[in-house]
Symmetry: C2
């Protein structure tokens, strides 16, 4: 099938990390835009983006990036979005759509909204996708395929601009859902923010033990621990900002989680096998649901590779007697 007519003429990407560079790759692969202009704060990143050929043009300032763009996507950590909005506000073309990819939406609306002109369509977005790697080399065009992108248009947003941004994300392979920023922040607090905080915590706990060495933690991590280390390897700046920006919802979920830990701790202390079994039985259904709707792989172990068995020579003294 031939590629579709571009949705937008000129996409300006501010920030080209894992998400920004994946948008660039996917938008180009899908012919979603006619041209891409990109910028990044660090000269090293701008150089790398140019080397990778991720954009038609790499510029040095945010103001220059948005000149003549009909879509601007801000792909920097949540805590930096307000300052970017302030910088680009005066340079935005009339009718431009301004969006972002932040994992918190209430703070984005609060921080960016006031700096954007009335002639811009502000439609915050959050593609729920990512890996544990960061930077322009880490992105890939397929990152958003079959993942959800949540739009949280503020009250009074132009429905046509919202629909067009939704069409853009669908073209990049995502499913799109619209909700309020407050509800988004509550949903993500449990499906993303709390899991990251818990993973960061337990990896830290393991690293501080005196009785178990780090070498032992690494060697025997296949017992479950290694699953936590993946998300605890995510970008520290991004995640610091998320917890600061979504404080209330995260604290709410942390409170509930802490209560539940206390209940299971009590069951262990009392030797209450029945309570443990009932709890463990119930959680299986959630995994099944996630696999069924295609949000995770049914392959054992996430489909991690298992090397073949080698036939090595057997040490003689141990052979079975004939």
């Amino acid at each position: 099938m031939s590629k579709p007519t571009p949705l937008f003429n000129r996409l300006a990407l501010i920030g080209v990390g894992l998400i920004g560079s994946s948008i660039a790759r996917a938008a180009r692969a899908q012919g979603a835009v006619r041209s891409i202009v990109a910028t990044a704060r660090s000269p090293a990143t701008r150089k790398r983006v140019a080397e990778l050929g991720l954009a038609d043009q790499v510029v040095e300032s945010n103001a220059a990036a948005v000149e003549g763009a009909d879509i601007v996507i801000v792909c920097v950590p949540v805590g930096a979005c307000g300052a970017v909005a302030k910088e680009i506000g005066p340079h935005l073309a009339a009718g431009v759509t301004v969006s972002d990819v932040g994992s918190v939406k209430g703070s984005i609306i609060r921080d960016m909204g006031p700096h954007l002109p009335k002639t811009a369509h502000f439609v915050p977005a959050h593609p729920v996708a990512g890996t544990e790697y960061s930077g322009p080399d880490a992105g890939f065009a397929e990152l958003f395929v079959n993942r959800w992108c949540i739009l949280t248009p503020p009250a009074g947003a132009d429905p046509k601009a919202v629909d067009k941004l939704a069409a853009f994300w669908r073209l990049l392979g995502a499913n799109v859902e619209t909700m309020t920023a407050d509800h988004h922040d509550l949903v993500l607090a449990i499906t993303s923010h709390l899991p990251h905080l818990i993973a960061y915590t337990i990896v830290g706990t393991a690293d501080e033990l005196q009785t178990v060495t780090r070498s032992e933690v690494l060697k025997f991590s296949a017992g479950g621990f290694r699953d936590f280390t993946r998300i605890a390897a995510s970008d520290p700046t991004m995640w610091r900002d998320v917890f600061l920006a979504n404080k209330d919802a995260v604290l709410e979920m942390l409170g509930r989680f802490t209560e539940d830990v206390a209940a299971l701790t009590k069951a262990i202390r009392k030797g209450d096998g029945e309570t443990l079994f009932e709890h463990f039985e119930r959680t299986r259904a959630i995994r099944k649901g996630i696999v069924e709707i295609g949000q995770d792989s049914p392959a054992p172990d996430f489909g991690r590779p298992h090397p073949d068995l080698a036939h090595e020579p057997l040490p003689k003294p141990y052979a079975a007697e004939d």
Copy 2:
């Protein structure tokens, strides 16, 4: 290279779930034993083991299984091992090696040891490997390759028997380490038991929320939550037994984890970005270490598959103006 001379003549497997059936497949693939006899508590499992051809012989009782075996591996949940030892004790051949695969070792020595005759070599073992699936169909020959198998021989164990069991596990692809049962239980409490408990907890927490629906939890699980659901889908009976059997070490690790959660909670509440950043920066190194020693895949997202982008027709009204 030709297959090695078998290490043992007759392997008796008591319990043929994920681990037992993987041992059967790997032992056969590697020619580690001359023959395999298997048994399982449920007639359905025995029937399935026979259908899959996992053993040379499938018998109905534990006593019958161990007759004439020179190695017996008990592959049932930790809480059931004592009763199995009592049953097989009187039927064990002199010089037999008796082992297990339990995730807790202190309780195994306490529960099984007293029932085994002095003429048997009792060498408890724990292959630190597994997937979220259970049962004889879930096993595969490569499960133990490059994973660690921990042996915890009780004081006075015959070094030759220990070495021979180590050779068996190496033949199945595992690395072998020997330590005391107490130390094993502490190491596994942090690398396996606590991660499972936390995963079970958070999945339960998510499922009980009134403000976020189950459908939302499933849809947006790619934000991190889905990583936890894999280990929270592990066998409930096995895990109930683990927490009851390793109570002290698990409570110790839970205590430390709870303190660390409280510290990060406080940092969020106070808006202390510096503490959060420092913590998140530190945990990255652990992931790197695990990948470097080959205990996890460096592929993003555990190597989960990402479907290709499809070029779908673009809805007309949204195309860019020429």
